[in-house]
């Protein structure tokens, strides 16, 4: 596909061709970006099926809003904004439902992090990375949707504070504080499990 059409060699070319109504051009964009979008939304949701659904939703939204892509950011960045918003909406809706359930079952609900075994593995037994990998999902679930989105975009995707603000439709200062809160929450949640105190040396 990409070898036979000049427009397929760049995202800009494929976008321009897709705007003429050619679905094959959009297919090129899907095949080129679906894995990176999947990684982004997986990091936000920590759930494979949610991530798969969100990738579909992201590309369908992108297709319907293609006329609004102005080329100031790269197509990939524009796509990330849509993906981050789709994931944020999903997480907000889910957290809203969860809060209602928590309010209803206030006496019986427990902190998911407290249900996890609190053993502190020695460095010899487990690598730090794999241990964090096991604990990261439950820890991320303690972040708000905006905190998760801001942290993932900054920490894994290297987006600037300004870009995160634009993506999440918040002021840069709000984006920055979301990242701060995310880092604080993750450290408080994870470092004790790893046998260290937040703020001290690992």
């Amino acid at each position: 596909m990409e070898a036979t059409h000049g427009w397929a060699t760049t995202d800009e070319g494929a976008v321009a061709e897709a705007r003429t109504g050619n679905p094959e051009a959009f297919r090129v964009l899907v095949e080129r970006h679906s894995r990176s979008v999947y990684r982004l939304v997986y990091r936000m949701t920590q759930n494979e099926h949610d991530a798969e659904d969100l990738v579909q939703e992201t590309f369908l939204k992108a297709c319907r809003q293609l006329h609004r892509f102005d080329g100031r950011a790269s197509f990939g960045t524009w796509l990330y904004r849509i993906a981050a918003n789709c994931a944020t909406d999903l997480l907000r809706a889910r957290q809203s439902r969860a809060q209602k359930q928590v309010a209803f079952h206030a006496e019986t609900e427990e902190n998911p992090m407290e249900q996890m075994p609190s053993h502190a593995p020695s460095p010899e037994r487990l690598s730090l990375s794999s241990e964090i990998g096991r604990l990261l999902g439950p820890a991320m679930s303690q972040l708000s949707a905006q905190e998760r989105a801001a942290f993932v975009l900054r920490h894994y995707e290297g987006c600037s504070i300004e870009e995160i603000g634009q993506a999440l439709k918040v002021r840069p200062n709000a984006a920055k504080h979301s990242i701060f809160r995310a880092v604080q929450k993750l450290r408080r949640a994870l470092e004790p499990k790893l046998g260290v105190t937040a703020g001290s040396s690992l």
């Binding site: 003429t20 109504g21 959009f26 297919r27 369908l60 006329h67 880092v183 040396s201």
Partner: protein, 239 residues
Amino acid sequence: MTHLTEDQLTLLYYGEAGDVEASHAAACEPCRARLASLAQFMDAVRSVPVSDPRAEWQQRLWPAIAPQVAEALGRRRSGWSRLWLLGPGLAAALAVVFFSGMYLQNRIDRSHPEAFSPKSRERVLLITMGDHLDRSQIVLAELANAPESGKTDISSEQQLASRLIGENRLLRQTAQYSGDASDAALLDQLERVLLDIAHSPTQVSSGELKDLQDRIESQGLLFKVRIVGAADRQKGLKL
């Protein structure tokens, strides 16, 4: 000496802190140790791998969305291209209706009733009005449903709004001339919103977009345009 906060250390880790914080960290052993600890934690979090999506799902992804993609791309393309082609024809039809109403009604209808009867004139007018409201509705709906972002490009909606203003004016004057107060009021309200759209910046801020959306939603304009447009077209086709 005041030590750096965790937030300042986080900014330092991301390379976004100011010179003051960087100088402090360079000179202060406890803060340097805390920064090293934070960096080790953050690097470990970053190193957590994400598996590639399932191969089976990747193969299913495009077939799953292809029909909707084709429909969305095709609808937008055919919709807009059809509208641009219809523009001059509609303007000509409007001019015929308007001038026939203004200057020829009494004389032509009396001397040659079969040439341009009131019924056929009403039919053209209703269909023209229906088409005009239909096209206006597309512009209004595009803007009303536009997602808020830092800056939104509304140039395509502006181009169509600019073309619709002249037609709208002719239709409004025709409605006023024929004593149709409700259509005249609707077209007057629509014309003011079309003018707002046409005279807005090409790139609107989220606040400006919200203002436009509020104007569109005010007094149920979009709803009225949709309902009246569909009703007029149906009525015209039945005549």
